[in-house]
């Protein structure tokens, strides 16, 4: 995928986007947090799927959720299904080390919008933010 230099994902337009990072690995949480901050976002970061679901049950909603697949307590598949069952309309993007097509397909079927194999890159975030902005434009026009 070839993208411009953060062409469609300026820090200003991203400021109002709410983002949640869900991953049990502290290193990955730190990395994803910093990647998103690079784009002007201020993500909330949690350690497993249950924490993400609990937040939603408390009434917190997010424009974007980056969801790991393998996590203790509640994994990414279970959390994604639970969030969708509760009516979450967030863009949920799976970011997993389980890269086989069948594993990614199973994760997608839980209710993801997109699924990427780790590691996360600037291009992936740029793509996601473009998609988010497109969805935003569509909602405005309808």
């Amino acid at each position: 995928m070839v993208l411009g230099n953060d062409a469609s994902s300026s820090s200003l337009s991203n400021k109002n986007l709410s983002v949640l990072v869900v991953d049990d690995d502290p290193l990955i949480r730190m990395l994803h947090d910093n990647y998103l901050k690079h784009f002007g976002l201020k993500p909330l970061v949690v350690e497993n799927g249950k924490e993400a679901v609990d937040l939603f049950q408390l009434g917190t909603s997010f424009d974007l959720i980056l969801m790991d697949k393998e996590m203790p307590i509640m994994n990414g598949v279970e959390a994604t299904k639970a969030l969708r069952d509760m009516g979450a309309t967030s863009m949920i993007v799976g970011v997993t080390s389980r890269g086989s097509p069948s594993e990614m397909q199973a994760f997608m079927e839980a209710g993801l919008d997109f699924c990427f194999e780790k590691p996360l890159t600037f291009d992936m975030i740029d793509f996601i933010l473009k998609e988010l902005n497109v969805n935003d434009d569509d909602d405005t026009n309808n």
Partner: protein, 156 residues
């Protein structure tokens, strides 16, 4: 002059990591995250990585040397390790993790033990190469001095 020589040394060290395929392009992504507000980000990430990886490798080694290996547990640990290694651009380490996991999956325990030893070697080699690289970078930055106004120079 000395500063220029040091910069060249650091650049050469960095290039060697890619030439030897110890690191891949993902490391460059990490470097892009460094900024004025976070000047030691890469080093912080790598310190965290090696702190966790050292413990993990010890645990895996103990596990695979037992008579009754918990294969699911070892696979899960190596799976996580693969994710963090890929995320910092540790190319050879990641490849060796994949090889070890594959051999375990195939039931080739002796092969997996050999592959794991290679994995440990690559991991230790990566650390041995990165430590002097960051030390050289510190030398380049030098001691940080905070600018202070001379007394009596404040103007309204």
């Amino acid at each position: 002059m000395e500063s220029s020589h040091l910069r060249q040394q650091i650049a050469a060290m960095r290039q060697s990591f890619f030439d030897e395929e110890i690191l891949d392009g993902q490391f460059c992504q990490l470097e892009r995250l460094e900024n004025r507000g976070n000047p030691n980000f890469v080093e912080e990430v790598l310190t965290m990585y090696f702190r966790d990886s050292t413990t993990l490798l010890q645990t895996v080694e103990q596990e695979i040397e037992t008579d009754t290996i918990d294969l699911a547990k070892v696979d899960m640990m190596l799976h996580k390790f693969k994710g963090s290694s890929a995320s910092i651009g540790a190319n050879k380490v990641r490849n060796n993790i994949t090889k070890t996991r594959q051999l375990l999956e195939e039931g080739n325990l002796e092969g997996a033990k050999l592959a794991f030893r290679e994995l440990r070697m690559e991991h230790d080699n990566l650390r041995a190469k990165l430590e002097p690289y960051f030390q050289q970078q510190l030398r380049q930055v030098g001691p940080v001095e905070t600018a202070t106004r001379p007394k009596g120079s404040d103007h309204a």
